[in-house]
């Protein structure tokens, strides 16, 4: 490609920024319309700084290939399963990734009479970012006006009520408050309002006096001098939303292939379109490939011959507080992150959950390993400082904690739409926060773009006959009215047999989770679907019984039951050491 003077100028800009950061050892060269960084630096932090130094300079993307000696960047983990189940399969559309984006696109496309397959390398949907976030449906305030994040967030937020109604998941729209720690912050209110207008945040958004904050949230600490209320903020259970989308898509004919990783892509001879997809379960073909691969979306783009951005993992840790804390906080509240240093994370704070628990977090930490979901004492220490925001909350109420990894691009914006290079490739990449909130809008647009590409290939786009947008979830028995609950149990006594005592979950609900259209495969899969084992004793009492129920329903030995898919067996062996029967 010929380098235009314009690109040369941009490149010089990048080099200047790198120099300012003291990163002169880093080389910046042009890669198609992107800038590619290479060389060696001394620490991960330097690599991150270099990536940001190259961002915002007008390139299509930043490829950060800098090496950090001593820091390993582990490759994507691949399922153990090897078979030929997908050999020769042919789909109109293949979606890589079973997160909220992949499942949402599948559901949106299932309105049409198309053959759709979703490839997900884990053994269930929502095992990466979509199952490890705060479930906050942001109002659309945080992103800078003009970005894709800003445009999609408020639109997505608005679409959530329809999703909730059709897909039968709980949503709590109680709003959120940015807290003002000092009086001068009231001066920001007009600026915040303007930002809301520009980003089309649903209102009315308004400034609050200290007294008004306390009227709304009586337990926030006295230190607060006021705040800014955004009423459209809502809360959902992220994995339940993702699973609901997957189930509805499956009900409408989509195929979900779990433990199936996209490992390679075959392109037409001139490299302009995708012909075949290689997986650990055989090679299949598709007319359109949709990249919704989260933290690995850059690798999928690379496989598909369209390498123009790279992803870096930013880990966030959250702590979960006991349900008993529910009355203490109704709306998320946190500090606005005004400092430039923090600009890449959502401030973090105290976030209520639909289930009644309260979350603290999330933190933000750059990590080399994109599947590193561990937690550490140091980060945890910074997390628990958020307890100071509410005077009724304390460390003893923490029942658990977890981490997720955000798929951040160096430009810090979503990458959405058709590839400029490969005709039948679409990206929904770098979907980090507020990706969950934006999902309904992203998925709708992605589906339309996909239909356009199919139309160009002369594939007729017809409505699917009998498409049903409505999905009924597993009954939430404990929330039913007395009469309904009684009637349900009389019809099916399994709903009266309580297995998980902290969350009051019946055997009937667990059985349903094992035979839904996207069934649970593991103990954690059951927990995500019906909350059995998610309470304060964390499965202390019910684990042995859940294992027994799973073995019976799935018709597998007790030792075949896993916590989180192959390799995570729970029981080692029977203690009855009889000689095996001759066969």
């Amino acid at each position: 490609m010929k380098q235009t003077p314009d690109l040369e100028k941009k490149l010089r800009n990048v080099r200047r920024s790198l120099h300012r950061e003291g990163l002169s050892t880093v080389q910046a060269v042009l890669h198609e319309f992107s800038v590619r960084l290479s060389g060696e630096v001394g620490s991960w932090d330097e690599k991150v700084r270099a990536g940001y130094a190259a961002a915002g300079k007008g390139f299509r993307g930043v490829l950060n290939d800098i090496r950090v000696p001593g820091v390993e960047e582990p490759a994507m983990s691949v399922p153990l399963l090897r078979d030929k189940a997908l050999e020769g399969a042919a789909y109109d559309v293949v979606i890589v990734g079973g997160g909220v984006i992949g499942c949402g696109i599948a559901r949106e496309l299932s309105r049409r009479d198309l053959k759709i397959g979703v490839l997900e390398k884990e053994d269930d949907a929502a095992l990466q970012a979509s199952g490890r976030n705060d479930g906050m449906i942001h109002p659309g305030f945080a992103a800078a006006p003009g970005t894709l994040k800003a445009a999609y967030n408020s639109r997505g937020n608005r679409m959530y009520d329809d999703w909730a109604r059709e897909l039968d998941f709980e949503i709590k729209r109680t709003g959120s408050i940015l807290l003002y720690r000092s009086l001068w912050m009231h001066l920001l209110t007009p600026y915040f309002k303007r930002r809301c207008r520009l980003n089309k945040v649903d209102g009315p958004c308004r400034g609050l006096s200290a007294r008004q904050v306390r009227e709304l949230e009586p337990y926030v600490t006295e230190k607060q001098k006021g705040g800014f209320l955004m009423p459209s903020t809502a809360y959902v259970s992220p994995y339940r939303v993702t699973l609901a989308l997957a189930e509805n898509a499956a009900d409408n004919g989509c195929d979900f292939h779990f433990q199936t990783a996209l490992l390679g892509v075959e392109l037409s001879s001139e490299g302009s379109s995708i012909t075949h997809l290689k997986t650990n379960r055989g090679t299949l073909s598709c007319r359109v490939l949709i990249n919704a691969a989260g933290v690995w979306s850059d690798k999928v783009a690379e496989m598909a011959g369209d390498r123009f951005f790279s992803i870096h993992g930013r880990k966030g840790t959250d702590a979960i507080l006991d349900k008993r804390c529910e009355p203490f906080q109704t709306r998320a509240s946190g500090m606005p992150s005004l400092l430039k240093r923090n600009r890449h994370s959502k401030g973090g704070g105290v976030v209520p959950c639909v289930e009644g628990n309260i979350l603290l977090g999330p933190t933000a930490q750059e990590v080399a390993d994109r599947e590193d979901y561990s937690t550490d004492a140091h980060i945890f220490g910074t997390l628990v400082k958020q307890l100071d925001l509410n005077r009724e909350l304390h460390q003893g109420q923490i029942i658990s904690y977890y981490s997720g990894v955000r798929a951040a691009s160096w430009e810090e914006d979503f990458i959405l739409g058709p590839s400029v290079k490969v005709a039948n490739l679409l990206h929904a990449a770098a979907i980090q926060s507020p990706g969950f909130a934006s999902a309904p809008a992203i998925c709708r647009d992605m589906a339309r773009w996909c239909e356009d590409i199919l139309s160009e290939q002369n594939v007729p786009i017809r409505d699917r006959e009998g498409f049903n947008p409505v999905r009924r979830g597993i009954p939430r028995v404990r929330e039913m009215s007395e009469a309904d609950r009684d009637a349900l149990i009389r019809k099916d006594p399994a709903y009266g047999d309580i297995v998980c005592r902290c969350e009051e979950i019946s055997r009937g609900e667990i059985r349903d989770a094992l035979c839904s259209s996207v069934p649970a495969q593991s103990v954690d899969g059951i927990k995500r679907r019906v909350r059995a084992g998610a309470g304060r004793c964390h499965g202390g009492f019910c684990l042995p019984r859940i294992i027994a129920i799973m073995a019976r329903e799935m018709d597998i030995p007790l030792t075949g039951v896993t916590k989180k898919g192959p390799g995570s067996q729970i029981l080692m062996e029977s203690t009855k050491k009889e000689a095996p029967l001759c066969s």
Binding site: R324, I399, R485, I498, G539, K564, G567, I570, L571, M572
Partner: protein, 431 residues
């Protein structure tokens, strides 16, 4: 029992939980002539004893060494001889006050026949306790399969017949952890070591010698597990010696294993009770009760491990009996609870708590006081004062933080007083 749905269920005493505490309460209440119902969530009564197949139960009560199931069986037999309605696989989901103060409570219960309402004059809460988890002791690292509480491991081995791990590390030296170290070894697993953050084991000496020393299992005091490694199944744990809550750098080590078993404390199960907003004791994490095991909610009693964590099942049964009898008397208006007053007990000095926390006065007879010390000590002097006057003194030897102590207090010392404050202090005493 088959529920008759058309008829509202009505009882004088409803016991929630069919462990040793609940069984004893139901028997005692029935013997006082009350109409009694016992609710148990599981298929069989017996509570946690069903999985405690080692012996050592009932030494005080039966002067015999029984296994858990044997001990439970004796009570189940006794219960079977009485006209008590035992509802198993029945879960209590909510409690509400029924009408004015003495009218009792309305319970909602769920079982495979439906959701029913049950009216009761009194309630005996005997729901036992739950175990603290790895998250409650803030263990970090990965979250693979292979992390169990000792109670889970006990259930899996003893009731289900499966080994949860073959190469185990145990954290916490509570009795259940010690017993599990032995049990796992006998079932062919290797126990790599037992780590305890405290400077002494928190279980009974007898268990330390019988369960660890006899099998050569190393006990690491002042040490803990910091992190777990392995993404799918536990592959190793990181351990370290701790000094003032901080890991000592050059003692951080990785111990390869396939499972981590925790015995890091028990928490009384009182979520259901707390919907009635009784006064709670921060130390015991159970309700505050008087000598009749009555909580601050009229007609609601608490016993067993739901009241405070016990070491010996014999005391659990005893508290159940007290609560059951008192509930029956209350239901038939024979408790005399509306006369007299209450004295408040406070624990001071080297005492973590004292139970009961209140005494209804005037009353006759003797009341067993149960207490635990904060720090083990070779000697300690217990002084009980009422409104500044010493009413009882006793010297104890070899006080251990792990062991609950007991002392009988003769109520005649209060001679007619019907209130005031009672201080129970354990002071160190030079030898």
């Amino acid at each position: 029992m088959q529920l008759n749905q058309e008829k509202q269920l009505q009882y004088d005493v409803t016991v929630v939980g069919g462990g040793p505490a609940g069984m004893a309460a139901a028997i005692a209440a029935s013997d006082e002539g009350a109409r009694v119902c016992l609710l148990e969530r599981e298929e069989k009564i017996g509570g946690i004893l069903k999985q405690c197949i080692h012996d050592g139960f009932g030494v005080l009560r039966f002067s015999e060494q029984l296994t858990g199931p044997e001990y439970a069986w004796r009570y189940a037999q006794e219960l079977g001889r009485r006209p008590v309605d035992v509802l198993t696989r029945t879960f209590l989901t909510s409690i509400e006050k029924n009408g004015s103060s003495r009218d009792g409570y309305l319970l909602k219960i769920v079982n495979s026949q439906g959701l029913s309402r049950l009216e009761t004059r009194t309630l005996v809460m005997a729901m036992g306790c739950r175990e603290r988890t790895d998250r409650q002791v803030f263990i970090h690292g990965e979250r693979p399969a292979g992390i169990f509480t000792a109670g889970q491991a006990q259930d899996l081995i003893n009731l289900k017949g499966y080994l949860p791990g073959k190469r185990c590390v145990i954290l916490g030296s509570g009795d259940i952890g010690l017993i599990m170290a032995q049990r796992l070894t006998l079932e062919g697993a290797s126990v790599e070591g037992l780590y305890e953050i405290g400077s002494e084991p928190s279980g009974l000496n007898r268990n330390v010698s019988q369960c660890l020393e006899d099998y050569g299992i190393p006990l690491h005091l002042n040490s803990t597990v910091l992190e777990v490694q392995g993404r799918k199944r536990v592959e190793a744990v990181t351990v370290a010696r701790m000094e003032r809550g901080i890991p000592v750098q050059d003692t951080v080590r990785t111990v390869p294993c396939d499972s981590l078993i925790l015995s890091v404390g028990l928490i009384p199960e009182n979520e259901m009770l707390q919907s009635l907003a009784p006064q709670m004791d921060e130390r015991t994490r159970g309700p505050r009760v008087n000598q009749y095991m009555e909580t601050s909610c009229p007609g609601v009693f608490s016993c067993g491990n739901a009241l405070h964590v016990n070491d010996l099942v014999d005391y659990v049964s005893q508290s159940g009996e007290t609560a059951g009898r008192a509930a029956a008397l209350y239901a038939s208006n024979r408790s005399g609870g509306d006369r007299g007053g209450e004295a408040e007990l406070t624990a001071a000095g080297n005492l973590s708590y004292v139970l009961p926390q209140k005494l209804r006065l005037p009353a006759e007879g003797a009341v067993p006081l149960f207490f635990r010390v904060n720090k083990s000590a070779p000697r300690g002097k217990l002084t009980v004062t009422h409104e500044g006057t010493v009413i009882l003194e006793k010297t104890f030897r070899w006080l251990k933080a792990a062991e609950m102590e007991r002392l009988d207090l003769d109520l005649s010392v209060f001679s007619g007083s019907n209130g005031g404050s009672v201080a129970v202090r354990m002071s160190e005493e030079g030898s």
